[in-house]
């Protein structure tokens, strides 16, 4: 298309909002539909929002590229993929055991640290990306072929986990062997003993039936990652909108943050119950040794990213 930035003669704008999950029953979808609802209602149709559920990219990297070039206007991205754009600071939020509860997480991302992070993203990307709010993809737990009673039980277990450096290092230190398996192949991999275990949040792995496989039916609530997702808009495009349109978008984003989190929290309980009903075994574990192991890694990673001050703040807010 030409460079009209998506605005037509009468000043109305069209916003392409996209996430990477194809399942209709996903908190992302609830969040973006809320965004659409509020933006369209508040603007009396002056803003049109088109929601794409995986249709213009099931890879986050693709959505980030589209956000930059203008193929999408509002997208959802995880810290791991933001680091790919050269903004390494955001990976702070993906460090293992950084948060100890949703309350802690919300206090951090909705407070001063969240604001600082938003500034870093905006500055380092030259205004390509502007943060509209923090969503979550749930809290991640271990699930595998045996329940964990202590960290020693991880020794020698292969585990499907993210390929991001610090996370991989952390699991290596616990004794597990991080293994790369595509998400779409994981069900089979767990079923056929290609990997011994994996880690993810209830709504994600229960929807894929991983909890019904031999190597996925023991869930230990390690709670190692209260995940953060960035709701982003293209900053340059945002600046080209009228003041009124900007305010409406911010308001819609705020409503979407609330809707997404509510939906996720609700699904987390529902899918945990479903896992139990389907015969999976859930147990809790003393997280303290895991937390202790994570601390030096967090220190080192934060230092490398140059955000030791933010790490300290996050720890103080517990």
């Amino acid at each position: 298309g030409d460079k009209s930035e998506g605005s037509s003669g009468d000043g109305s704008i069209k916003i392409v909002a996209a996430h990477n999950q194809t399942s209709p029953e996903n908190p992302y979808q609830d969040g973006l539909l809320k965004f659409k609802e509020v933006a369209e209602a508040e603007s009396d149709g002056n803003i049109k929002v088109e929601v794409h559920a995986g249709t213009i990219g099931t890879e986050e990297s693709e959505l980030v590229e589209k956000l930059k070039t203008g193929g999408a206007d509002v997208v959802l991205v995880s810290p791991g993929f933001m680091t790919q754009t050269g903004i390494k600071e955001v990976n702070l939020l993906a460090l293992p055991y950084l948060f100890d509860s949703y309350e802690h997480w919300e206090k951090v991302v909705d407070g001063e640290v969240g604001d600082k992070m938003a500034n870093i993203i905006n500055e380092k990307s030259n205004n390509d990306f502007k943060l509209l709010g923090y969503w979550t993809a749930g809290v991640r737990h271990y699930y595998g072929k045996k329940p964990l009673q202590s960290m020693e039980d991880l020794e020698g277990l292969t585990m499907r986990t993210q390929t991001s450096g610090v996370v991989a290092n952390y699991w290596k230190q616990t004794g597990a062997i991080p293994t790369s398996v595509a998400w779409g192949e994981l069900y089979q991999a767990l079923q056929q003993d290609v990997v011994d275990s994996a880690e993810n949040a209830y709504p994600y792995f229960v929807q894929q039936n991983h909890h019904t496989t031999d190597n996925g039916k023991y869930i230990t609530e390690t709670g190692h990652d209260y995940t953060t997702r960035f709701l982003l808009v293209n900053g340059n495009k945002f600046d080209s909108y009228t003041k009124e349109q900007q305010e409406i978008i911010l308001k819609a984003a705020e409503a979407s943050v609330k809707a997404e989190r509510e939906s996720l929290y609700k699904q987390e309980e529902e899918y945990k119950q479903k896992a139990i009903d389907d015969g999976a075994k859930v147990n809790e574990i003393d997280r303290q040794p895991f937390i202790e192991l994570a601390k030096p890694l967090q220190d080192k990673a934060a230092k490398e990213m140059g955000v030791t001050d933010l790490l300290e703040k996050i720890r103080e807010m517990k």
Binding site: G1, E5, T55, G57, T69
Partner: protein, 428 residues
């Protein structure tokens, strides 16, 4: 605008622009016409379309097949097939079908089979008094099982598009693949009796055993690939790499039919063949992107639920549609473009993605032998020096056989799923 683009597509194709470029040009012009999509989406999507680990299986399975042909392993398989079915009337034609079924267990595509087997069997069939039509027809038609019997490149692509399990699709292809082969043999038998085609001399049992022992290392490739994928020991891509490595090693060190100096040519052939279909995949990804901005999947879903109430009618429409598309497009770009469009509707009708995959892959297999763009037909016609028109006429009965099996599988999926459920019930 949509109609304009379709019109442009037809015109460009007709004047002789390569089809992969036609797809790319239409994608670019379509995207230029939508103000909020930047033009650089076209190169981006072309690359992103290829940025998928499963696609690496495409050149690797072609490499395995090329190694089998260059390493003369296909010759050994033909000898084995002749020893088994040669004494039946029309023996060479039966062997042609049987060897294609064996070849299919190693190769993920069909063209290498047409080329490798056709080069040997078409001339010898003609020499033994078979009609050219029969020689070309049976060669082209039987090689379609290459994409039905696992491994199968189209199945891998389908799995990538829909998140269906590759293992389940592969297992699901066994019954229809074998049915197609058997049905073709019955047809060939009737033809052979009518036209009095020759039998081959019976092979002594001791010689047969020797032949079998010789071919076991080659046949073991099938066990490695299918067993490896189904048991989850490797992914499809890894299995393709292992198959290539294994074929390379046995033909260099066991059969000693392949030399190091043969490798560059094999690699060039592999790169040529795979880059042709993968470049078409790249431009198709760009066009598919345009289609997803139009939200064609949602539109199709609305259309089908409002106008086509029943599952079986929907299946008939899909089959008809892909039969048509397959006449002028390769299976891979056809799936990239249209599987995302039909998937939401199929799911809503409660059609299992693995079942849908079998229907789509079987239908597109027919496209391998229908002109103008039927690669196996073109190849076999060239080898047999027969016109496309006459070759197509020869292949029509076989197409009917494939379609009958396809409809059978479409409406009685339990038959296709019998074997996979027996082997690995947890896949379903």
């Amino acid at each position: 605008m949509g109609f304009l683009l379709v019109g442009l597509f037809i015109v460009l194709m007709f004047i002789g622009i390569p089809i992969a470029f036609v797809i790319g040009i239409v994608a670019l012009l379509g995207i230029m016409n939508i103000p909020y999509i930047p033009e650089m989406t076209v190169p981006m999507k072309m690359l992103n379309g290829l940025d998928s680990f499963v696609l690496l299986a495409v050149p690797l399975f072609i490499l395995a097949a090329n190694l089998m042909n260059s390493g003369k392993i296909s010759v050994k398989l033909i000898d084995l097939a002749l020893a088994i079915v040669g004494p039946i009337r029309g023996g060479l034609a039966h062997a042609n079908i049987l060897v294609s079924m064996m070849f299919a267990g190693v190769s993920g595509a069909s063209q290498a089979d047409t080329a490798g087997v056709g080069k040997i069997l078409i001339p010898s069939m003609i020499r033994k008094g078979y009609d050219k039509e029969t020689a070309v027809g049976v060669t082209a038609a039987s090689s379609t099982v290459g994409v039905v019997i696992p491994p199968s490149i189209p199945m891998i692509i389908f799995a990538g598009l829909t998140n269906a399990s590759v293992g389940a699709l592969f297992l699901g292809g066994i019954v229809p693949g074998v049915l197609i082969g058997l049905a073709m043999m019955i047809f060939v038998y009737i033809l052979a009796v009518k036209r009095n085609y020759p039998k081959q001399a019976r092979v002594e049992f001791s010689k047969f055993l020797k032949l079998l022992m010789e071919t076991i290392p080659a046949l073991f490739t099938i066990v490695i690939i299918i067993g490896g994928i189904v048991s989850g020991f490797f992914t499809a891509t890894e299995a393709a790499a292992i198959a290539s490595l294994y074929t390379l090693l046995i033909s260099m060190f066991f059969y000693k039919t392949l030399k190091l100096k043969d490798l560059p040519k094999i690699l060039i052939d592999t790169l040529s063949l795979s880059s042709l279909s993968l470049f078409a995949l790249a431009t198709a990804s760009a066009l598919g992107e345009l289609m997803s901005y139009y939200q064609l999947g949602t539109l199709a879903q609305q259309f089908f639920t409002n106008n086509v109430g029943t599952e079986w009618l929907f299946i008939i429409i899909i089959v008809g549609f892909f039969l048509f598309i397959g006449t002028f497009m390769d299976a891979i770009p056809a799936m990239i473009l249209f599987v995302p469009v039909i998937l939401p509707t199929a799911l809503q009708f409660g059609i299992d993605p693995v079942h849908l995959g079998l229907i789509v892959v079987l239908t597109l297999a027919v496209g391998l032998v229908t002109p103008p763009y039927g690669l196996c037909l073109l190849l076999a016609a060239k080898i047999g020096d027969l016109s496309i028109e006459r070759s197509f006429k020869a292949v029509v009965p076989y197409i009917a056989i494939i379609i009958v099996v396809l409809l059978f599988i479409a409406f009685f999926p339990d038959i296709a799923f019998y074997v996979p459920k027996m082997i690995n019930p947890s896949l379903f």
